[in-house]
Subunit: 404 residues, 2 copies
């Protein structure tokens, strides 16, 4: 090609460097805390195999044909009941099933974002969401994260100063920080969204993986003006290989998303939706969730304990109440991306997601996201020991005075 | 919402009216020639069920976990062999598996199209492709179709006068006209693409459904400058419910599409890809294709014969050598969309896709796409009889002089 042929978004995506981070995980010696992988030991493989088998034997369903592009009605009904029991009144008509919550993020952005439109994201945020948003050329506004969620003063300042179309937030066990948005902030977020006429995209794939503390109401359950679209996924609670998630919201949103899904991929695989409905009808998801919570809590405890014990001076880690990730804070000036690439992955065989990949502005370098669900506890401990040892050489030299 | 919240593309998609056409097919009395549905009687339901069962019993594959987002390597290898045997040299690395070819269309547009970029499409063309392209705000250039494919003089004129990034074409049994691009035009298209430095997106889901005549080389096999990206699908040759298609092309294209797929939906369901690989290893796809060709040819013959016999004066139908569709040409001034909505669907219970939905400009109203694969032959005959009868009242009055 003589001319520059790629679209702007393609060049930016190539430069975001996430592919580099995952490329590292082709190394089989590697201990990877980078991905958001669930523990494969916990997948209900036999039950799911049986659920697929059933899908093919109920011939009246014709699982191999095209179907309604909102997804299998029976699964939407089962899901609506579960969401309602979780405190968010939902009917089957309020739901569209998607290729994981990832596709729902993509379709909501496609529905709302004209080039240049204002889009608020938490800083840091889920890099996959940025990958979806980038396709529609938004103007990003980054809102810093506090321990109890998005900073509301910073949010209000942005909403006052700029035209914003959508706020993207992960209120439960945020990806990447693990933070839970407090009830007061949830209420304030809804108030601000109403005042400034903004759509809220609530992404909550980890909500049902709370290890301790009390569940808080979803943003959608606090919504009185039909401006919250809420996303969930079977990826973290059943299996990511299903590629099955959902968007819930008022009719006007679901109708528009369904129309746009025609252009994206027509519809999700009916076979999978029937199989998941079969699984949920024949098995006890709550018992399965209880098992996941217990095992993931013990993995999180093991990772946090190992970090607290071994991290050098100046590095800290938080201790989330659920989800998949802990957040490692390094001293100012330590570039966690640069040292991972140059030293920690090649020499120690450990990978994580460096913070600069988690900001649209790529400005913050001294932090990292660590996943605790994908590896077993001995491997977690071995990986954290290697990582902590490697980080010693990047710890700030403590002045003698401070030691006295 | 106080302000206009939807993106421009969402409003346009809602106005395209395709949803209306399909909504009609909720009527169970309806005889629908609208969709691109394969014959469900021909799905290898038992074999595919067994292939899914096998996917779950080969535990080493871990089908429920995240995997490589280019898709299951073994299936890419099988497919590469098949494409090579069909005359297009392809390696497994040249392939990315997608959610049907539909997602591949979406991702290629995402990869290339900045807002305003020039995009050539055949006129008429596949409306689902327009649904994908619209998300990236291209400037469309419509090239009229001849009986042997895109008009090359019109194409050259456009390429001379405008900056064009991509040409989208369906060379084999075009959707909607059924036309096959001649070898001379294929060669000329490649020559023009080279001369004007344009990417070619070759969409060919019907290629292996030729009923008569000689197969022509793919555009990708004629490409010498790595500017053709070629798409295919298991939807029409195995089953659409699999939602499995592919894009093939040089490394720079496949790498970029894989990066963008992260934002769209991370990856396609591994379970399905393993099941299809199992199906292809354990069954004879060529024998299956031979059956499809035989039955679809007889359906096409039945539809064309019924139309030729019953269509009123001034209406004509073509007789394609393969694929899923025939093209009905009405006299000038007959609005096939308007009469379908007002009369033919409500009164006769027959649906099709009116031509205005098949042009980005929505300018041509006097034609329609009819699918012949979805219904059985008695239903095709009944539907065409009803349709032809209804069209009588829209036939032009023939002047007495012409009758003498």
């Amino acid at each position: 090609m003589k001319k520059e042929i790629f679209a702007k978004r393609t060049i930016e995506a190539a430069q975001a460097g996430i592919a580099d981070a995952f490329a590292a995980s082709n190394n089989t010696e590697l201990i990877s805390f980078a991905g958001g992988f669930p523990d494969a030991q916990l997948f209900p493989n036999d039950e799911m195999g049986e659920s697929f088998r059933q899908a093919f034997t109920e011939n009246s369903l014709n699982v191999l044909q095209y179907h309604d592009n909102r997804g299998y009605a029976k699964l939407r009904q089962i899901l609506a009941k579960r969401l309602t029991a979780d405190g968010t009144n939902t009917s089957a008509d309020d739901i569209i099933l998607t290729q994981g919550a990832q596709q729902a993020i993509d379709l909501v952005a496609r529905m709302l974002i004209n080039p240049g439109d204002g889009l608020v994201v938490e800083a840091p945020t889920y890099f996959g969401a940025l990958g979806a948003f980038d396709a529609y050329d938004p103007t990003y506004y980054e809102i810093p994260m506090d321990a109890d969620g998005m900073n509301m003063h910073a949010l209000q300042k942005v909403l006052m100063a700029h035209s914003v179309k959508m706020i993207y937030t992960i209120p439960d066990f945020q990806n990447p920080t693990g933070a839970v948005m407090s009830l007061a902030k949830r209420q304030e977020l809804i108030r601000l969204a109403n005042q400034y006429d903004v759509v809220v995209l609530e992404d909550s794939p980890y909500r049902w993986l709370r290890f301790s503390g009390k569940q808080l109401p979803t943003l959608r359950s606090l919504d009185t003006e039909d401006r919250v679209i809420s996303l969930g996924s079977f990826s973290k609670i059943l299996a990511p290989g299903l590629r099955l998630g959902w968007a819930t919201g008022g009719q006007k949103w679901i109708d528009a998303i369904a129309t746009l899904k025609n252009g994206a991929d027509l519809e999700s695989p009916f076979i999978t939706m029937v199989a998941v409905a079969n699984y949920l009808s024949n098995n006890d998801l709550d018992a399965h969730l209880a098992t996941l919570r217990k095992i993931y809590a013990s993995k999180k405890d093991a990772m946090v304990a190992a970090l607290q014990e071994n991290l050098p001076n100046g590095f800290t880690v938080n201790n989330p109440q659920g989800g998949f990730f802990v957040w490692l804070q390094a001293p100012a000036g330590v570039d966690m991306g640069q040292i991972m690439k140059a030293d920690i992955t090649p020499n120690e065989g450990v990978a994580y997601i460096p913070s600069q990949n988690l900001y649209p502005s790529k400005t913050v370098c001294n932090a990292a996201r660590l996943n605790f669900t994908g590896e077993d506890i001995p491997t977690i401990q071995k990986g954290i020991a290697r990582l902590s040892k490697a980080l010693q050489k990047y710890a700030p030299v403590v002045p003698a005075a401070a030691l006295s």
